[in-house]
Symmetry: C2
Subunit: 666 residues, 2 copies
């Protein structure tokens, strides 16, 4: 207890501020890796409707590795097609262009739309399944101290945060500051809009006056996932750099009553009054993005948000959809925002405090990427902090977070800078509209790999080995590029015969995966190569002792931070589980042999997605195979020949703490 | 309150005895159709491990129509392959034959294995989502009276059951009568084995001595899903006819430690010591069926069950797997049973009381069908009782339950009579073993359509219209045969562009589906036919008033017990939602147009299962289409041309109560 009578003090390894999709994704990693962590959120209740909804392929692949994608697929709305409407020669809107993603077959999962609240629920359920971590709601941080002197000591708690528990009334104010009446059709849309001021200071002030319960928390790491108004970022004096445009947009989730034929298809509609973006979603809802007002250039006066109402948005949509009718009776949620692109120059302070998601990059929501980028930021920093906090990985890996994610945040802003103006440039004459919809398609195509998450562009680092000599593409596995995602494929289990996607096999459980692409074991020479590799991995050669005992365990979870997985290319019926070296299919005295570890790239004939073409997808020779290390976040870390065990061990030594070693210093 | 001080009296429409898979499936229908129902179970807790595990394609299709299949797929183990081992020429066991189902592409869902306890949980969750029905556990029925005089009055409650609430101790005794010690490795396996006596009377006796709380329940309908020892069946004096063989089998769920290569593949292993059945399942478990003893022929003495132990089963498995090693440390569950085939001559009493599942048919569990047959019994009787109790359907449909399901139960026993002896005939010489494994494959193939649920053989009735002139196959839709399942296909939504399986579209919500296979709407004549049909259905012709208002609603759920669904065959991009008649895509003033009702049989190019071949699967002309009525349980009721509306309405009139009409008498 300190100066205030009702202040206690406690310690945690990781403190997470904010329990939106980004904060929850961070907490997921702590739960999976058994790290002591706390997560707070100022709001008293979870988000139930509205907010973000776009889910890109890569995000869904990560969900599958977390074991929650089946729930998303069950409820979500797939968008694989887009239609761009603009006036035809007679001035009536027509489908000027349609678009189906060329990338649609590059992932087994299609882009989807599902409300943020459901996503949060699924991640929460997973956190609960793996740990005792609970979101502490209605809790706000009041002060942050960071003692850089203690940085070198991994056992120290250099971060001190004072937490304050809000009253129920205060917490519900944080949930929805402007809506006192619950009888309105839709919640007041300007909650969490960037048009409203931040209420954090106000909440602290009220709570102080009430002499609320406070707590001093000492933490080793702090991760700020507290949104565009990020309190954490402000405490660190990290600015958001960039600019706002002078356009105000409305967003509304409604059940439409319209004879416009493509209201249930992703697309845009343009006429002389402007452009709207149409996004169909679950439960008959359609989200519309609508330009509502241009702020007078040069004014410093705060925009008068009271002029934006669902009624005003309805009128604007009608103008743009003319001559089609448009109305709604059910409005589930709405908000308004000012378009702008801003980014923080750094995502970390001393690699002890990290910022993720909207806290470090804001943009217009129209590209359907915000929630994806935010969760992928946290997915990236989460496992790194978890493994370092657990004593499994060297703290040096923490310095890869900023370069890996900052570059992508810049691409996100770049995409938005190309995309948003297409909605506000008012060139709507019939003669120009085909050009405009063409431009929309061109911009979409330009950024598609990035937006869907099919390319990550992670640069060389301790976690990403790049081939020597500067070649971008490893000769042994032309499509397995370090720093990029491991392209999913459906494989057949050797012992069982069933088929599974790689992203579900490569569970996000904190382990690095050493993937042995064993090639065609029917060939004598290749079988020898695989057995020689097994010999080396088991410690009878280059590696001194078994690779599986070389590194510190993940305490309470796994004896080794490595998981070996073998994928061969011979026909399934011509191979046997016991053909493979012991270390690739180890025997546990209680759990028996590890039948889940040997896989086959062969088509069983009854699963159209298990087509026996994985080696081709990966650009790997079917006879000779390859050796691959995949990071815990399913990005490729290292690629080589089956003989390159020494080089692989050097890569792993640079990342993982040796077993029995004292903790390294920062 | 009556003779006992603590007896109350209440009314319910439907009382279900037993909350295993069969009872829960019945309760599901009451939940979906908003019928007042109660479900009791003598056991104090839900089944957690062991018991049934086999799930056939058709069961999974029904799960999908209930909205729970994604959870089963996430956890279950797919079996698409089987291996039959027997001694080779040198006496060492080899894979004599392997087998992949020829039917595997006839359903999008493959046969699976998953523990009964998980299935029960999924159905329970669905019941909870749709109703307030709760399983009343630790409740037993003590007496049953049925007043046949009241049969003709649908508002009467001719059934009187006295319920008794067990104490916690009694209820846990019911859960596991022989296991007092919770420290054993596996629960005592003889609970619910057919080798143990029924404990129902004993529980009533104990409970009476305690002066337990009792309740008189008056019900309109009673459904007994209370297993092989069915108390309900005994009260009705309905026998189980058939015989037991003299073979005792053990069943054990273990995590195996063995170098037998196919321990994770479905299959059999035979040698001179006997035959075992190997069934891999979720969580590394393998189930083994093992012959343990032959009862002396002609003895009436009860089999000495104390001689069967996991240790004895382990020894038997070792004998049969020789020279492969075999051991286990984890035994999750085990039991033993005496092989026999028995069936009740009738499944109903006065069409007010029904029996389903093991209550009316018992067989050896080795065909992996028991849970499927039991759930499908309930799925069949459940919707019929629910719709009659809700005043939606004529009571005459209740008389279709016995003939539809009794015939299949006989086939089940026939299958078992062919299959079980293959495990006990001891012809294991090397020269004969290939013949034996060949016979196993032949028997499997012979019963495959039936076992997987791909054929139902439901005969002509008020619910199944058979073509006139005695042809089995309707000319207009050669593969849509009344009385059979509607073969699943993946379709593209016209308004949205997304792809969905028909079994998920045809939700098990109590409604009949009128499926308009609209053919190729690009052809002028065909478009005219479809619009003429729309005209008729809307009540401007043969039907007097709109078909959608012709029948009594499902109270509190749907305004009409019919759901119209249109599937056309033109290319998706060449059709529009608004091309179709109003009645096929109705407008709701709040919910807008019914975008979910118009579907297209076209391949989008990005979904390998949506291949644009549904019309071919159904044997329907792509230009001319057809008209189909599908029952609430996804079986086909009626098939005709688009012009045969009068005939279709006669079919529906025979099943459904006209709107505004007084309730018909029995």
């Amino acid at each position: 207890m300190n100066e205030e009578n009702n202040t206690s003090e406690s310690h945690t390894d990781v403190l997470i501020v904010g329990a939106g999709p980004s904060g929850l994704m961070t907490a997921y990693w702590m739960a999976r890796c058994g790290v002591r962590a706390r997560i707070i959120d100022k709001r008293g209740t979870k988000v139930m409707n509205g907010h973000a909804d776009g889910l890109r392929m890569r995000t869904l692949e990560l969900f599958d590795s977390m074991g929650i994608q089946h729930r998303v697929s069950h409820e979500g709305f797939v968008t694989a097609y887009a239609a761009f409407w603009a006036p035809g020669e007679d001035g009536i809107p027509i489908r000027q262009n349609t678009y189906t993603s060329a990338k649609i077959n590059e992932s087994p999962l299609n882009n989807m739309l599902l409300s943020q609240g459901r996503i949060e629920q699924f991640i929460l359920d997973s956190i609960q399944e793996h740990s005792d971590i609970q979101v502490e709601r209605g809790v706000i941080a009041e002060s942050l101290e960071y003692d850089e002197q203690q940085d070198g000591n991994l056992e120290a708690y250099p971060i001190t945060v004072k937490l304050r528990t809000l009253s129920d009334e205060e917490a519900s104010l944080a949930t929805d500051p402007e809506n006192k009446s619950k009888s309105q059709v839709a919640r007041n849309g300007l909650y969490r809009s960037n048009l409203t001021a931040d209420d954090w200071d106000d909440l602290i002030h009220r709570s102080k006056a009430r002499q609320a319960k406070t707590e001093i928390v000492k933490a080793k790491y702090l991760i700020g996932c507290d949104g565009a108004h990020s309190w954490t970022r402000k405490q660190l004096n990290i600015p958001l750099e960039g600019s706002s445009t002078d356009h105000i947009w409305g967003v509304i989730d409604i059940i439409p009553i319209t004879n416009f034929p493509d209201i249930r298809r992703l697309g845009t509609v343009t006429n002389a009054s402007g452009t709207i973006l149409v996004i169909p979603r679950e439960r008959n809802l359609v989200r519309l993005y609508v330009p509502v007002q241009v702020v007078e250039a040069g004014t410093t006066r705060r925009f008068d948000r009271s002029t934006i109402t669902p009624e005003m948005i309805r009128t604007r949509v009608r103008e743009i959809l003319t001559p089609y009718t448009f109305d709604f009776q059910i409005c589930d949620w709405w908000t308004a925002y000012q378009v702008g692109q801003r980014i923080a120059p750094t995502f970390t302070k001393g690699n002890r405090i990290f910022l993720a998601g909207d806290a470090v990059h804001t943009h217009s929501p129209k590209v359907g990427l915000g929630m994806n980028m935010s969760m992928q930021d946290s997915f990236n920093v989460g496992w790194k902090v978890a493994l370092v906090a657990a004593g499994v990985a060297h703290p040096s890996i923490l310095s890869t977070y900023h370069p890996e994610r900052h570059r992508l945040a810049e691409m996100l802003l770049d995409y938005d800078r190309h995309w948003s103006p297409l909605f506000t440039e008012m060139k709507s004459e019939a003669a120009e509209s085909p050009d405009k919809t063409q431009t929309m398609i061109k911009v979409t195509e330009l950024f598609e790999d990035f937006a869907d998450g099919l390319k990550a562009f992670y640069g060389a680092s301790s976690l990403v080995w790049k081939p020597e000599g500067g070649e971008e593409v490893p000769a042994v596995a032309r499509c397995l590029i370090p720093g990029e995602r491991f392209p999913p494929a459906k494989l057949r289990n050797q012992a069982e015969g069933g088929t599974h996607w790689t992203m579900r096999l490569m569970k996000s459980d904190g382990r690095f995966r050493v993937v042995i692409l064993a090639g065609d074991m029917r060939k004598y020479e290749q079988k020898q190569r695989v057995h020689t590799l097994g010999h080396l991995l088991a410690g009878h050669g280059a590696v001194n002792g078994s690779l599986m005992r070389r590194y510190a365990p993940i305490p309470g979870r796994f004896d080794s931070p490595l998981d070996l997985m073998t994928i061969h290319s011979a026909p399934w019926a011509q191979a046997e589980f016991f053909d493979f070296p012991d270390i690739l299919r180890p025997l546990d005295p209680v759990m028996g042999w590890a039948y889940g570890k040997i896989w086959c790239d062969d088509a069983p004939g009854w699963d159209r997605y298990c087509d026996g073409r994985a080696y081709e997808t990966w650009g790997v020779d079917r006879t000779r195979g390859a050796l691959v290390v995949i990071r815990p976040d399913q990005y490729i870390g290292w690629v080589g020949e089956l003989e390159n065990v020494d080089q692989m061990v050097r890569y792993l030594d640079g990342v993982l703490v040796r077993a029995g070693n004292a903790r390294p210093k920062l």
